[in-house]
Point group: C2
Chain length 239, copies 2
């Protein structure tokens, strides 16, 4: 990981240290969120009550990290009064940890669905959501990796992936709907799986946000909420 | 509205103007989001296709405002290098407009559900979600009002309300579930209403975030993700 991206050889060696610490805190929050998401999906698909319980009761760790990193960022801004790329970096961290915190919430939500689904349902209902889970997990991983390496091309890849997720989510919803129509006794369980699929779709959207912020950070131009074409154009110009 | 809260009589008159500008931009983004939410709920409950279409195609305005306000904030930080309460204000704005933008997304989501539900369903399915909608709308309004007046007591009120919403959402889910079990032909329509209820529950959570940030802003202490007791204690000490 080219840490130089984060520490621009400042006059102040201390400032360099603070910036790379901020980066490391961001990455460890990302690591924790990845773990929460992975465990939540496993807990749902394998109906592992104890694992689900652990995820549902560990979200506070993610929240505590967000609060700490916000505070760190505020102190850096107040003390170092960063400008240009440094300020954009700090702002990108402030904004993207909100996405990480929300991903933590979605993982907790999936874990709660798992707690309600315990034991009950036939495995076939979980195949598609499990596949979507793997897909979204690797998206999140790639987004964090791109952020760590300030790699706008990988970020663009993730943005592409996030579009595929929408289609995948739609087809899962349709499939689960037919299961419910066939046998209404399955409705309560299927609903939990539907909620979980929706949560995964949200995680994909948050991973996309992180990548758009990365491009903003590197390009110094905000490409959020713009068409993919524009995003691509922006990202290519950062090469 | 006591604007002094936002403009602390700085040496620089220009800085005062910039801060109250930032405040006004935040409030106009809030106003737009309120309007989007109100229209989305009306569109769903009255099955108004054209209104739903309008909400679904207006979300870009909210997104554009978020990008603009982020940029404004970055410029203020870079140019004025605010500290203490000023910096906390700018950070509170940077964080809370993310909640406003997400509320805009939820409104768009409800509008999309309305587009799919057009004409089809019996009115009785919409009574509860309509009531929840009114409730959540007034929560959002109070949250924005509290932010505008830097009123931590009102903020605390909203945080209290947000807890009631969870119970309301649970009972709506149970009620809609029974409708689906009784007659599976209703499943597709009821699902749209369920998604909308969930979206409203998210709006309540975002309104709560805004109030927690307000208390952070006034108190200078972060009370997010803490128990209501702690939040109360914090808020009372701001009197």
């Amino acid at each position: 990981m080219k840490e130089e991206g984060f520490t621009q050889h400042h006059i102040s060696r201390q400032f360099n240290i603070e910036l790379s610490e901020l980066r490391n805190q961001f990455l460890s929050m990302g690591g924790l969120v990845e773990e929460q998401l992975a465990n939540a999906i496993t807990a749902l698909v394998t109906r592992d009550y104890h694992l689900a319980k652990r995820v549902a009761t560990s979200d506070y760790k993610v929240n505590a990290l967000e609060v700490m990193i916000d505070e760190e960022s505020r102190i850096i801004i107040a003390r170092r009064q960063p400008t240009a790329i440094d300020l954009r970096l700090v702002m990108a961290v402030i904004k993207t940890i909100t996405d990480l915190e929300r991903i933590g919430d979605e993982a907790e939500h999936i874990a709660q669905m798992a707690l309600q689904t315990e034991g009950e349902a036939s495995d076939k209902y979980f195949i598609a959501v499990n596949h979507l889970g793997d897909y979204v997990r690797s998206m999140l991983h790639d987004a964090l990796d791109a952020f760590a390496r300030l790699d706008t091309e990988s970020a663009l890849q993730v943005i592409h992936e996030s579009i595929k997720v929408d289609g995948e989510y739609e087809s899962i919803s349709r499939q689960l709907l037919t299961y419910m129509m066939e046998d209404q006794r399955t409705i309560p369980v299927i609903l939990n799986i539907l909620w979980s699929a929706r949560a995964l779709e949200r995680v994909a959207a948050h991973s996309r946000n992180i990548c758009e912020y990365l491009i903003y950070l590197v390009k110094g131009k905000d490409i959020r909420h713009t068409s993919l074409e524009t995003v691509e154009e922006q990202a290519l110009h950062t090469r």
